[in-house]
Structure formats: C-alpha cells, structure tokens
Symmetry: C2
Subunit: 314 residues, 2 copies
C-alpha cells in the first residue's frame, strides 16, 4: 500500500474504477419514511431523535455505497446544526466510513491564521500527538479556506505531510454569486480563482508532499461551470487532485466535468451528494424500485460512476 495520500486515493479510484465521491449532506425532512416512521426517530422537533434518524440513515447509505465508490465527503455543517451531539455523530460516521474501507473527506472549509489555523488543522485532521483521544478516527482529508494565504494553509499541510493525509484547498465554488469575487480580473489577466490556483500549485510542490504518482497531498476544490475556466484551472494545478462538487442536484452534467481529468483519466474526484443520497425521491428510481430506498441509492451510485467514466479520458 503506498503511503502518500494522493497515491492511496488514486489506487482506490483505480481499484473501484470510479473517480467519484458521494457527499453526505443529511437533512432530516428528506429521510426515507422507513427511518423517520420508527417510533423513536419520528420527531423532527426533538433534536436527539432527529439526529439519531440522521445518523441511522447516513450509516446505511455509507454501507450501500462503500463497495462501489472509493470516497465519501461528510459535510460538517449538517452535523454542526445539532451542536455538540452533532459533532460527536460526525466523528462516529467518519469512523464507520473508514472502517468500511472508504476515504473520508471532512468538508468543513475551516480557515484562520497563525495559532488558530494550527488548532483547526490538528483537530480537524486528528493529529494523534495533539488530540489525546486514543480511539478518535479523523478524516483522511479536509477542505480548507484559502483566503488567508499560505499562513492559513501551512498548519494543514504540515499535519497532512506528517500523518499521510490530504487537504483540498478552496479555489472555485459553483454558486451563482461566487463569480463576483472569484472571477474578478486581476491586472495580470488572471481571475482571483486562477491567482489562488497558482498559489495552490506552488504549495502542492512543497517538500515531502508529492507521491510516486506525481500527485500531491494538496488538492483543490474546483467547481467552475464554464469549460474554458475548467481547462485552465486543471492546467494550472498539474499536481493537485481536483475535488469537483456540483454534479447532479447542483446542475453539473457529465460533459461539464470532463475537463477536470487529465488525458490519462486521472486527477479528478467528482462529487455528487443529493442526487445519490435522495435518489429515492427521483421518479427515475421510484418507478423501478418503488419504496426500496436503499436500492435507489445503490443504482444512483452505479449510474453516477457510469456517467463519469463515459466522459473520462481513457
């Protein structure tokens, strides 16, 4: 087993022939009735019951997708909304996903400066020299804010290097208004996102970060909708694995995500969240599996992999 995070992730993608990641963004009122109808889980207004239902659903969803995909991305916000009990559930889920053989990306987009960034980094990646909680399993990688520059990233990069983990630095997001800031043009002709991409490429080349595959444990979150920008960002960060959100429910199609792969078919991890997790609300799957929500999720994950592989360079 190769040790570098990027090498390990690429190997898992290859083994499963699936350059994809399922996003775990659980919302109580979207859960299948089979779960929320259980007597002790059926009260959205009882925070504890709601969280139990969310956790039960996520566990089962993770077990369904674990044989198919190499990675899941667990979104911290959907757990933080249940405060400390939610955070405990977030780490329980990370542990279970790890035990199911999945790479786990903690999507928390933390960022700060100096000693504060170090706190976030060592806690979020569960640096064992720091945590003093023997059996705590942290994620394999986390998403990180880039607005603070290298000072903000360095503590994350240091922990990633030491612990053979990874980070995905925020470069370009998929939301409507992001362009006002991220696509603002600099004097040198680059957009702000491209300028940050150049920085990420520099950071990714740091000593001890690049694996045998040529990829670094410093990846990037990139979700441009426009094809030209996707091609440019891919080219600007040749040693970074790109974590690409926005597939499915957020509107990105297979054609949109093709430019994030290199010509050898590596370099991108495409993420879909709601379109997999709530496939049992999609008529396409309901018609076929009626109320068997687990089969809807399984089929949606299979279709997702097939769609991505169809546009991925061979």
């Amino acid at each position: 087993m190769p040790e570098n995070f990027a090498d390990r992730l690429l190997e898992a993608i290859k083994t499963k022939n699936a350059p994809v990641c399922v996003g775990i963004d659980p919302v109580y009122n979207k859960l299948p009735a089979e779960i929320t109808d259980q007597k002790d889980l059926n009260d959205e207004h009882d925070s504890e019951a709601a969280l139990d239902a969310v956790l039960e659903f996520c566990r089962r969803a993770i077990r369904i997708v674990a044989p198919l995909v190499p990675a899941v991305k667990v979104n911290s916000a959907f757990f933080e909304r249940y405060y400390w009990e939610g955070i405990e559930a977030y780490y329980e889920l990370i542990q279970e996903a790890s035990e199911a053989g999945l790479f786990v990306i903690g999507d928390a987009k933390r960022g700060d400066i100096g000693s504060t960034a170090e706190m976030y980094a060592r806690a979020a990646l569960a640096d064992p020299d720091f945590v003093n909680m023997d059996d705590l399993v942290g994620p394999d990688a986390v998403t990180v804010s880039t607005y603070f520059g290298l000072d903000g990233l360095k503590p994350f990069i240091d922990v990633a290097r030491e612990e053979q983990k990874g980070i995905f630095a925020l470069v370009r997001t998929s939301n409507e208004s992001a362009g006002v800031i991220q696509n603002a043009k600099l004097e040198n002709g680059l957009t702000v996102a491209e300028h940050i991409a150049q920085q990420v490429a520099d950071w990714a080349r740091g000593e001890g970060l690049i694996g045998a595959s040529g990829y670094s444990c410093v990846g990037a979150v990139v979700a441009a909708r426009d094809k030209d920008q996707a091609v440019r960002l891919r080219g600007m960060m040749p040693q970074s694995i790109l974590l690409v959100p926005g597939y499915g429910a957020q509107g990105a199609t297979a054609a949109d995500i093709a430019p994030y792969f290199k010509s050898d078919g590596t370099g991108a991890l495409i993420t879909a969240s709601r379109s997999i997790l709530y496939a049992f609300d999609d008529m396409k799957y309901v018609e076929r599996f009626t109320s068997e929500w687990d089969k809807c999720i399984e089929q949606a994950a299979k279709d997702f992999i097939k769609e991505v592989n169809a546009v991925r360079p061979a």
Copy 2:
C-alpha cells in the same frame, strides 16, 4: 434598548466608554498555575481535565472583564480542538458571557454555499425556529467567510435581520502572507480586499439592516497593517462596524488602529486576545501583582481601553 444589533453594540460601547473586545483564545499550557495545579485539572493529556481547566479559566476571565468591556470574541477553534465536548463548552461560555451582560461574537469564520451556508448560519446564530434546543444561547454575532460571495453571506444576513443579531464579514486579515491574495491588484485598481469591502458595503445597505445609528448589522473584520489601506477600507464601508483584531500580541499598536474609527469616534471595535488573557505572563504586570493573575488581566484590560481611547477621535 434599541433593537438593531449595531445600535445595541454602539450603546454598550458608549456606556462603558470602551470600543474594545477581549478575544477568548484559551490554550491549556498557558493557563495560570493556580488553575492547572488543581488536582482534577492538572493533566494536559487528559482531554476532559484539560477542557475543565480551560473552561474554568475562561469563566473567571470573562467575569473579570465583564464590568470593563462591552464585548468578548470567543474563538471556536480553541474549543473545537476538544471536539464535541469542546463545542459544548463553547456554548456554555457564550451563555455565561451573555448572562454577564456582554455582547458575544462567535469567531468561527464559517462559509459555504446554498443550503450548507444556511445550516451554518441558522446553527451558528442559534435561530430559535431551527434549533429546537430550548435553552441554547447563541452568540450575538459571528464572523463569516466572504469568498463565496453574497450567496454564502445571505443566510447569515437573513438570520441576523430576523433575530436582531450581527455578522462580521471577513475582509482583511493581519497575517504575513495574506497580502499575496488579499492585496492582489484588480484591473480596476482595487485590491481583492477592497473589492470585497465594496461588496460588503452593498450587502450592509440591505433592507432592514441599518439601525437608528446609521450602522448596519453587517460589519467587517479588517486588520490591515498599513495606514493608507486602513483609511481606504474605513471609507469604503461607511455603515459597517469594523472588528479589528491584531492588537497587542499580534503586533498592532494604538496608532495603527486609529484610522479604523470615524471622526466621531465610532465605527470600530478593537480586539485584543493574548495580551489580555495572558497578561500574567507580561513582566509589566507580574512586577506589580506577582501571582495575582486575575489582577493582571483586569489591569491589562483597563490599560487596553485607555490606550485605544487615547487615539480614538473625540
């Protein structure tokens, strides 16, 4: 009592004649021996004991500064490092600070898009329609990432408007390498931070956000070191209260922070963290109060207020 967040904060600043905020960034190995020597609190490697010690120290520090300053800023990272138990302590402390009559700013710098941003916003500001935890007290305001643009901010602004709370949008940070990104020059001559400041000024003018004082519940985090940029940023966001970190331990002096005030002496809330919280490590105070750490903190807070008022326009 005026209802708008900015109005209430300005009134508290006026009442205490102290446009300052004490940052609560607790670190176990900096705590006074009087606390860590207690039998049940003296083990840094026992996460529970360490957190109890941290909480005890923060409680006492908050009680010391509460009669002097209008606001405290509690830094989430220093609690998240103790995982779910740390988050519970973070909210306990917020509640105690509120009960002590302080404005509480939750410094968590969260940011994301769409429904994820909404989760963060409603949870971080403890929107009562959402939380279902009867007695949970959230902070009066939170710091928020701006890189996602308006979509990322809007859920926070909406909760702030409904709940008469506030946000401080991240514009300029004080760390060394921040300039690589935040001071990059745009085609139109503005820096990235100034471009974001213009956006913040727009957002701050939204309906229902501006109080009788003329200030908005949408403030900004600004920590430029260079005086010209400070003056420009102050001018660009005329309706935002500026939360200015970096005083004291981070190296900013009273002269550096003067430009953040308007000519009537309003508009800025200057934050010092380590220089107050760990004043008992500062020879200036040790010589005077020896091991009475509480008196060191009290005197440092008084000196801080005096220094800031000395440069604040009358």
